[in-house]
Symmetry: C2
Subunit: 210 residues, 2 copies
């Protein structure tokens, strides 16, 4: 499919540009409202040893970009219009506007969607997929494609798993069945539960690139 | 866009087939895990005066179809493979397999997605969009397109709004701003709160077609 091939080429160029500047890009995809922005906020607030920027993708508006702005980090808002996923082309525009030589990590928050982003490499070094227990614990089994391309799965909002009768352990098992090489962590971004594991994943990802 | 034009034609044929058999089709779209299946289950369990069937759409697997089966209603499972939305063509196949002359209502549960289904008319008579407070209360403002084509918006899981610090009234306001002619109800499918209003909407939709 030509669109995908063209996208893959642009993704490679993005990654080369990032490598030339020694910046690590981490893509954060996941279901709508699963906690992507909150997790990136926590990273920016707690990993003070790294210079962090954020790219916020959404169909319209820049509500997440505004949240990142408030933290005082370099932020670029991307709008896809109708597309249900970011692509490497849009991301290349964001990278042009960021001070790459003064950054260590760029978080790229994808449009909230568990289907569309699966096939579109953005040129990041690592892909995180965030799901939350409130989507129901069969959500992983229902959307295998995106988990095959992930490095880390974050199962969020475990603090309210009981209120939606969802079992995060089943979700973890489903993810490992789809992709045995995945890292999986169960967290509550709101309560801070296991957030050290989220921060540790990021730090390891950056160290591994050096 | 040719795909959309072709889809629109098939949607019209679907609606004609339904009208010829005096069956009302209600499309249930909405965010992943927002409560679409639970709301259809409640309708099937409580509207005993109507003969009800369900079409369950998902990328892979037939987990929702199994839930409808358990209720003893005619059920068709549709898989889209990679597409993030059902289309009129797939739905026409489901309609072929259902005993239309013995039904009053067909619920069509779309793939969980707040972006993709917006442009694809399935041939239903009414479109319901389900969002839940657990997706964050800016979710409506972030996805205007799908609300423009809706007849009813269900804001679900209000029983746990406090646990995600979300305000369902803001969500209702955002929906009305996008589409002033919308009906909006705030419910808890789990607790049964305001479910009479959901059932009443369905009954009115059927009566209006007669
Ligand atoms: N109870 C609970 N709520 C959470 C947690 N993490 C996030 N939330 C809530 O979930 C909602 C969505 O959080 P966001 O961080 O905006 O999610 P998102 O994935 O960025 O959302 P989109 O970008 O709109 O797809 C907000 O109302 C948060 O307060 C958690 O661990 N527990
Ligand atoms: N607390 C609470 N949980 C709910 C409510 N309605 C549904 N849930 C939970 O939300 C999860 C998803 O419910 P479903 O009915 O499967 O949602 P869905 O929209 O059909 O999900 P998909 O088809 O996978 O997109 C389940 O764990 C339900 O128990 C509610 O009103 N309150
Ligand atoms: Mg966000
Ligand atoms: Mg469902």
């Amino acid at each position: 499919e030509d669109l995908l091939a063209a996208n893959r080429e642009l993704a490679l160029l993005n990654r080369e540009l990032l490598d030339a500047n020694k910046v690590v890009a981490i893509e954060v995809s996941g279901a709508i409202g699963s906690g992507k922005t909150t997790l990136i906020e926590l990273a920016a607030q707690n990993l003070k040893e790294y210079r962090i920027a954020a790219v916020a993708g959404d169909v319209v508006a820049s509500l997440d970009a505004r949240r990142f702005d408030k933290l005082g980090i370099p932020t670029i808002a991307l709008n896809t219009g109708k597309e249900c996923h970011l692509d490497a082309h849009l991301v290349s525009h964001a990278l042009e506007k960021l001070p790459l030589d003064e950054l260590d990590i760029i978080f790229i928050e994808n449009v909230g969607n568990l289907i569309c982003p699966a096939d579109f490499d953005l040129g990041a070094h690592s892909r995180v997929v965030v799901v939350s227990v409130t989507e129901g614990d069969d959500i992983v089994a229902k959307h295998p494609a995106i988990f095959r391309r992930a490095n880390l799965v974050v199962i969020n909002k475990v603090d309210i798993a009981a209120y939606v009768e969802a079992d995060p352990h089943k979700m973890e098992e489903d993810a490992r069945k789809i992709n045995p090489s995945l890292e999986v962590i169960q967290v509550s971004a709101r309560k801070g539960y296991n957030i050290d594991r989220w921060l540790n994943f990021i730090a390891r990802t950056v160290q591994n690139k050096r």
